[in-house]
C-alpha cells in the first residue's frame, strides 16, 4: 500500500479501524478532537459505531460496557479528560477488560493550555487511579509509529486483557506525516473468548465485576494482576537505543516527540565530534529499566529531556541506580524545547563538572521572547 499524508489524530482513528476496532466512545477535547471527528465520518462507512459521550466520565464507562460485551473499543482524549477517566480505568483494569485509549497530552496542570506537553507521564505510568493496577503505556514518536502502536495496543490489550494507553502530545496529533496502513481496510473482529458478556446461551452465565466481599479473594486477585504485570514486564518492554555501538560522552533520554528533537540535536553535535547517544522507551510502562541501564552504561553521563518538570527522570534514576550523573532539561506549558536548546544544554553540561544526580527541579529557563504565541 502506498503512503498517505495524514494528520496524527486521523491516522490514529484509521489505525483503530485497521485493527478491527469498530467502536468508539469519546468526548471532544483539543488537541485530539480530530480523532472523534474522523471516526464520526469513517465508522458508519465500515459498519461501526460512533457515540459522542456526554463527558469523559461517561465515555470511560461506555468503553467498559463495550469491552465487557466483547468488542474492540477505543476512546481518545487529552489530559484533563484522561483525569476524568481515572475511576473507570481502575474498574477496567480490575475487571481485566481489553480497551485502548489514547492521550494526546496538552499543557497542564488544570486547564493549562492546548499546546503539546508530556506532563501526564506519571499519571499514565504510576498513579492512574486508586488501587494496584498498571496501564500498558506506549509512546510513539512519529505518525507512522502512532499507527503501529495503536494497532499493537489492541493486540496487547487482548493478549493480556489489560487497558493500554497510547500516549502522544498535541504535536503528534496535529502534525501530518506520510503513513502506510496494513491491509485489510477493516481488521477482523475480536473473538469474545470465554469472558465476554454475550448472553448466556448454551453456557453458564458470566460476571464482569471488581467487587470482592472476601478480602482473601481480593488479595488473590491483586496477586494475580501483579503476576500478570510481571509477565508483561518480562515480555513487552520496548525501547530504542541510537548511536550506542561505541561509548558516548552523553546519553540523551527522552520519549515521544521530544526524542526527535533530541535526535536532531544529537546529529548536530555528532557532526561536531561530540559523541551523543540516545535512548527512548517505547513502552513507558513497563519501563525498560535494563535497556536504559545498558544504554547508560555506555555513556559518560546522562541528560534527560522532557516536556514536563522531570517525570520520567524518576524512572531513569531507578534504572541507573546512582551509577551515572543525570542532568535534566524540561519545559512545560506548551513550550517545546528546540534542538538548539537541547544542544546548548548538552554543551553546558559537558563543559561543567559532573554533577551528582540532578534534582527534579529543572534549571530555570530564561524567557525566550521570540517564542511567545498569541
Amino acid at each position: 500500500m502506498s503512503k498517505i499524508l495524514m494528520k496524527g489524530n486521523e491516522a490514529v482513528g484509521e489505525a483503530a479501524i485497521r485493527a478491527g476496532c469498530l467502536h468508539f466512545f469519546g468526548y471532544p477535547i483539543t488537541p485530539q478532537s480530530e480523532v472523534p471527528e474522523y471516526l464520526a465520518r469513517r465508522l458508519p462507512e465500515v459498519g461501526g459505531v460512533f457515540v459522542q459521550a456526554e463527558s469523559e466520565v461517561a465515555a470511560s464507562n461506555m468503553i467498559y460496557g463495550a469491552a465487557g460485551v466483547g468488542v474492540r473499543v477505543l476512546t481518545t482524549s487529552s489530559s484533563p479528560g484522561i483525569s476524568l477517566m481515572a475511576e473507570a480505568l481502575s474498574y477496567i483494569a480490575a475487571c481485566e477488560l481489553p480497551v485502548v485509549l489514547v492521550n494526546m497530552m496538552r499543557a497542564g496542570p488544570g486547564l493549562g493550555g492546548i499546546l503539546p506537553a508530556q506532563g501526564d507521564y506519571l499519571q499514565a505510568t504510576k498513579g492512574t487511579a486508586h488501587g494496584d493496577f498498571h496501564l500498558i503505556v506506549l509512546a510513539p514518536s512519529s505518525v507512522q509509529e502512532a499507527v503501529n502502536l495503536v494497532m499493537r495496543a489492541f493486540e496487547l490489550a487482548e493478549n493480556y486483557r489489560n487497558p493500554v494507553m497510547v500516549i502522544g502530545d498535541g504535536m503528534i496529533g496535529q502534525m501530518m506525516e506520510p503513513v502506510e496502513f496494513p491491509e485489510p481496510a477493516v481488521g477482523k473482529p475480536l473473538d469474545p473468548g470465554d469472558w465476554a458478556l454475550t448472553g448466556c446461551k448454551d453456557r453458564p452465565r458470566r460476571i464482569v465485576n471488581s467487587l470482592y466481599l472476601d478480602p482473601e479473594a481480593c488479595n488473590r486477585h491483586n496477586f494475580k494482576l501483579t503476576a500478570k504485570w510481571q509477565r508483561i514486564t518480562e515480555a513487552e518492554q520496548r525501547s530504542e537505543s541510537v548511536y550506542l555501538d561505541e561509548p558516548c560522552d552523553i546519553l540523551l533520554t527522552s520519549f515521544g516527540m521530544t526524542y526527535r528533537i533530541c535526535k536532531t540535536a544529537a546529529d548536530e553535535l555528532r557532526a561536531e565530534g561530540i559523541k551523543v547517544g540516545l535512548f527512548r522507551p517505547i513502552t513507558l510502562a513497563p519501563f525498560p529499566y535494563q535497556a536504559c541501564r545498558a544504554a547508560a552504561d555506555r555513556a559518560g553521563r546522562i541528560l534527560d529531556v522532557e516536556m514536563n518538570m522531570g517525570q520520567m527522570l524518576e524512572d531513569v534514576k531507578l534504572a541507573v541506580q546512582g551509577t551515572k550523573s543525570i542532568d535534566f532539561l524540561g519545559t512545560a506549558g506548551g513550550v517545546v524545547p528546540s534542538p538548539e536548546d537541547v544542544a546548548k544544554k548538552i554543551r553546558e553540561v559537558l563543559g561543567s563538572a559532573p554533577a551528582k544526580n540532578a534534582s527534579p527541579k529543572p534549571a530555570p529557563q530564561k524567557k525566550r521572547k521570540d517564542k511567545e504565541r498569541a
Binding site: A53, A58, A67, L197, C200, K201, R205, N209, L211
Partner: protein, 254 residues
C-alpha cells in the same frame, strides 16, 4: 397439585443479602420473572449498581456487569451499542441514579438508548448507612440530615420519572411501588412493558419503583410500608409518565 407460584429460575437459588423486608428482593423477582416470561434470558445482560443492590450480579441468572457508582447507564450504552441484539438493563438505586449518576441517566434517556432502567427509589442511601439521597423526603431523618431534610437548605426531593419523562426523545417512563401486593402487580406490568419496548427495539425505558428500607428508615417492614404510602406516594405519584406512542405523536405535531 399445581404450583402456581414459585421462584423463577432466572433468580439464582441463594438467599439474598438484603435486610428482612427489604423490597429490593421483590423487585429482583419481578425483573427476573419478566426476563423469564419474555424468553430473553440467553440474550440479556444486566448491570448492577453500587448501592445495596451491588450484589445483584449474584442473583440474576444472566450475564451481569458490576458498574461504578452512578455510571450504569453509560455502561449500558456501551454494551447495547456494541451488541444491539442484547437486551440490556441496569438496576440502580436513588443515590446511584439520581445523585452521582444524574448526568448519565439523563443523557442515556435523551439519546434514546434502547435499554431498560430499573430505578429503585427508597429515599435513602441504603448501603452506606442511611445518608440523604436526592429523593429523601422533606423532614426525613438521615445520617447527613440529622435534623431532617431541610428543603430550604438542600431543596426538594427529585422526581426522576417526571424529569426524564419531560425529555423530548420518545421513551417509556413509569413509576410504581412495591410495598403492597396490589402495587407489586402494577410494578410487574410496567416492568414487563419496559422490557417489551426494548425487545421491540422501540425506545429507552425506565421504571421507578418506590421501595422500602426498614433498616435505614428505622422502622419495621410494616411501618415502612405505611410510611411509603403516606409520605412518598403523594409526592411521587404512581403511573405511566410517558409512552413512546404518545411521545412520537407529540414529536410529529412538532
Amino acid at each position: 397439585m399445581k404450583k402456581i407460584f414459585s421462584a423463577t429460575p432466572l433468580l439464582v437459588d441463594r438467599p439474598t443479602h438484603y435486610c428482612p423486608g427489604c423490597t429490593h428482593g421483590v423487585i429482583h423477582r419481578l425483573v427476573a420473572e419478566t426476563i423469564d416470561e419474555l424468553g430473553i434470558r440467553e440474550r440479556t445482560v444486566g448491570i448492577a449498581p453500587v448501592g445495596c443492590s451491588v450484589l445483584a450480579y449474584e442473583y440474576f441468572n444472566v450475564d451481569m456487569f458490576e458498574a461504578s457508582h452512578g455510571r450504569a447507564p453509560a455502561v449500558a450504552t456501551g454494551a447495547k451499542r456494541a451488541r444491539p441484539e442484547l437486551i440490556v438493563f441496569s438496576y440502580q438505586g436513588d443515590g446511584d441514579l439520581a445523585s452521582i449518576g444524574m448526568g448519565e441517566i439523563i443523557h442515556a434517556a435523551n439519546r434514546g438508548e434502547k435499554i431498560t432502567v430499573i430505578f429503585v427509589n427508597n429515599a435513602i442511601y441504603g448501603m452506606t448507612g442511611g445518608q440523604m439521597a436526592p429523593t429523601t423526603m422533606p423532614g426525613q431523618y438521615s445520617t447527613t440530615t440529622p435534623g431532617g431534610r431541610n428543603v430550604k437548605e438542600v431543596g426538594y426531593p427529585v422526581r426522576m420519572a417526571e424529569l426524564i419523562a419531560s425529555l423530548r426523545t420518545p421513551a417509556f417512563v413509569a413509576r410504581a411501588a412495591v410495598h403492597s401486593p396490589k402495587e407489586i402487580l402494577r410494578a410487574k406490568e410496567y416492568i414487563r412493558r419496559a422490557f417489551s419496548y426494548q425487545v421491540a427495539g422501540t425506545c429507552f425505558s425506565l421504571v421507578e419503583l418506590l421501595s422500602i428500607c426498614p433498616t435505614n428508615w428505622g422502622l419495621s417492614a410494616r411501618e415502612s410500608e405505611k410510611w411509603l404510602e403516606r409520605e412518598m406516594m403523594p409526592y411521587y405519584p404512581l403511573g405511566i409518565k410517558k409512552e413512546p406512542e404518545t411521545a412520537e405523536a407529540e414529536v410529529k405535531r412538532g
